[in-house]
Symmetry: C2
Amino acid sequence: MSDIEIAQNAKMKPIINLAEEKFGIPAEHLDPYGHYKAKLSLEYVDSLSHQHNGEGKLILVTAISPTPAGEGKTTTTVGLGDALNRIGKKTIMCLREPSLGPCFGMKGGAAGGGYAQVVPMEDINLHFTGDFHAIGVAHNLLSAMIDNHINHGNALDIDPRRIKWKRVVDMNDRALRNITIGQGGPANGYLREDGYDIVVASEVMAILCLATNRADLKERLGRIIIGYKTDRVTPVYASDLKAHGAMAALLKDAIKPNIVQTLENNIAIVHGGPFANIAHGCNSVTATQTALKLADYAVTEAGFGADLGAEKFLNIKCRSAKLAPSAVVIVATVRALKFHGGVERDHLNQENLEALENGFENLERHLYNVTENFKLPAVVCVNHFTYDSDDETALLVKKVEALGVKCIISKHWAEGGAGAEELAHAVVEIAESREPGFEYLYDTDMPLWDKIETIATRMYGAKSISASAKVKAEIARIQPQYGNLPICMAKTQMSFSTDPTAKGAPSGHIVEISDIKLENGAGFIVAIAGDMMTMPGLPKVPTAERIDIDDAGVITGLF
Amino acid sequence: MSDIEIAQNAKMKPIINLAEEKFGIPAEHLDPYGHYKAKLSLEYVDSLSHQHNGEGKLILVTAISPTPAGEGKTTTTVGLGDALNRIGKKTIMCLREPSLGPCFGMKGGAAGGGYAQVVPMEDINLHFTGDFHAIGVAHNLLSAMIDNHINHGNALDIDPRRIKWKRVVDMNDRALRNITIGQGGPANGYLREDGYDIVVASEVMAILCLATNRADLKERLGRIIIGYKTDRVTPVYASDLKAHGAMAALLKDAIKPNIVQTLENNIAIVHGGPFANIAHGCNSVTATQTALKLADYAVTEAGFGADLGAEKFLNIKCRSAKLAPSAVVIVATVRALKFHGGVERDHLNQENLEALENGFENLERHLYNVTENFKLPAVVCVNHFTYDSDDETALLVKKVEALGVKCIISKHWAEGGAGAEELAHAVVEIAESREPGFEYLYDTDMPLWDKIETIATRMYGAKSISASAKVKAEIARIQPQYGNLPICMAKTQMSFSTDPTAKGAPSGHIVEISDIKLENGAGFIVAIAGDMMTMPGLPKVPTAERIDIDDAGVITGLF
């Protein structure tokens, strides 16, 4: 059965009843969206601070460098969560909301897979509770107010050539990457170049995910720098345009965490979804904190491999929200490691011990980063595929355990929570026995350049970083006022280097910083290494062509 | 108190309970969106066809030509509905969903006013149940698939210069009216001119509002003509791009009618909102049919004055959905008639019997159109304002009743349903005593040119219509294949003529048809008379600047 068929056969429970049954959440604090989705009131979340000690343990699920072979980070997060519930640990999974646009391209859905999914799958993958639409509108309201302000006399003296705030749409639409707006004469405003990003790349998305309450949200929105005045250096803030109040009003409901269930009727919070390449790639702080207040365990994932996802989760989100994980699960697959070891995509189903040995260095590097750079206890989860041979899995277990780390072959994709019980036990053992000695990779008071270099050398194995004079000047310009912000690296997820084809664990390379982006509302500096795509395109035959709905409203073709 | 303050003080009942209490709708057929909004399942709507005879009476609320003074069509629809319920007629009000974009510009909300409102007001005015977001995404998916198709080789031979399908956003953003897309090199596709309309102007909106079920919706989406091949004449359909299945999937929930309540806890269906200037300007067929199946009375409104709103409601929506109103309420105000009689906006609060007399011709023309052109029984509702003098209202009643039509001074804005009871009695008397002899203004098998001329001469008092050779050629081109479609007039709402400053009841003018737009999915031909704005702009000081939300989530500044 396909993912969507498994999801459509799920025996879902009404979410209001389930939330009450599992965690005693009173119905009046849940806003239902249909019968199987709900938003939790912020007042309830706040009230928990006083009732609970927030002693829940936070488990981060991260992965090796992604490959076309697939690793299954979300699937593992769901499977592990279901398994923890099975072995008696009250657990909530915290996931990102999928972006709608890519569902129509190549990627398909992002609500887990096989027997480890969150449901209702179609809703979660399409409009869900409307959060991304709200974020898109809030973003585009600010865009419209910028051009409107210029049109009506530009009292703020905004330099139209130095506007950094683009427009967004939740669609893969390459034709909108670079556009010219304001054509057609005076009634349509002033001509200028602009462009569209996908909604998940919006700073509003990052802000929503890092905001701790409504006041913080509005303040961060007001701090957004949309561009500069004609003196080239004075920032223009969203608050100068008086846009932040209306933007926050548009996010009235989007800031509330969304509750759904897994196929095994456990609670998952699916909330927020900042792009993992240009932003920090984790679900909302509100979601994680809510889960930690309600449950014994909160299992969450961060986008891409541990070099990007875990690094940003730990240095940005955990720092900002004062979180500390009790254990890290690094997901790998035999197929993906063989790919890192040089096997072509078409031959991944054939046993190849040598390639597995070769590709192992990718996992080893990520493992080292987690345990040595961040001083966090880790366990490796091998997400089992049908074609994995016994010799391959045995070799992999042997190599991981030689490093003093537990390695579990996990079958949650095929068997749901039951297939991940061993993983759950391993996680509990680590989380409950060892004192984690979590350290950030860098202090925020280091100079920006040094922070970037620290990430590149210690996480990516690079020799050093480089940048053009222009980028260096930009770093120097923002250092005095914004130098204390953490770094949000934007680098290809496919490699430790900036070359997506450099598989395994390349070392000694130079990371070229091609651009610097100050996201003052989100509270980080984006350092872009190489070309970063903030607006995907559709493939020649987009998935959209086979997505359909029948007369009874049943959707097919979404996978 | 402001509208939003009145709305926030409403004693709302949980919508699921209210729908069950009032109309016996089982909870499982309602998808809640929070506690005060719900979507009704289409299966339930279908099941009603067999239980009920659909004998509900349909009341259309329309108005004189709009003025800046305000007429209060939505307010009257709500007030009349509440009043009908008070006098023992089970009534459901059918309203359009407000467009979010204009809330941030000048217009403010569109959920009624004073003590005749639908609630929750902020939700209805902002994202509501996400219908407009879904329509926007469905529209923009098709846009992305067009440029993607061309980018990947253009197998369909689409002429990029003849693409009619633009992009949409629910925002007042003049800078997007005319744009150039595909800039930045080969990776971003082919350069071409494009533009954005506001979501309510999307053909997808019109389609959703005219579709009778899911199959009809998908078929109509497939019939959309996005442009022409390089032979200049062969249409390219959305179905050629295989986009309609995914578009219909995106509208899975949007097609379900939304149920909310009035301040007096009566049920209103708020569903769909096609632009009244470029589209037909009425709420969805599904909504109206559902109300007629459930209630004794369905009260609904149509955008702008009766020359546009009522005409399109009757000739397009009623024809397509086989509906016939039992009575028409024409809303007028003393202030607006004085404006039509030549009084400046700043002096409308001063008594001026002569101006009222002069402006009366506007009401008289609309009244004639309804009763003589469509053979429908009418009643005039004077929506009472505080400053209206007794002599003014007496004069107005006298003049209307001299025409053999009842004229009621109604105070629902200040008093809610109680203030509109006399209006309700008048409507019931007409609807239940007289046999309406409803006639369409034209037969669809008339040639397109003749249909347009019939509307212009018989509804607008024009002498004739004119068009450039180019427009005439376009009409001739589409006549053979699409000549049987009804006409959707796009004309300024401010005047019977195409000159918005020509108040009162101008006659003998020539209506210049400046453009023709074939909306094959919606199933009508848009005839544009004069400049039609399909993307509004923001004013110098947009309402957005004063919209705010406090730490508890309470919104202010939305009026």
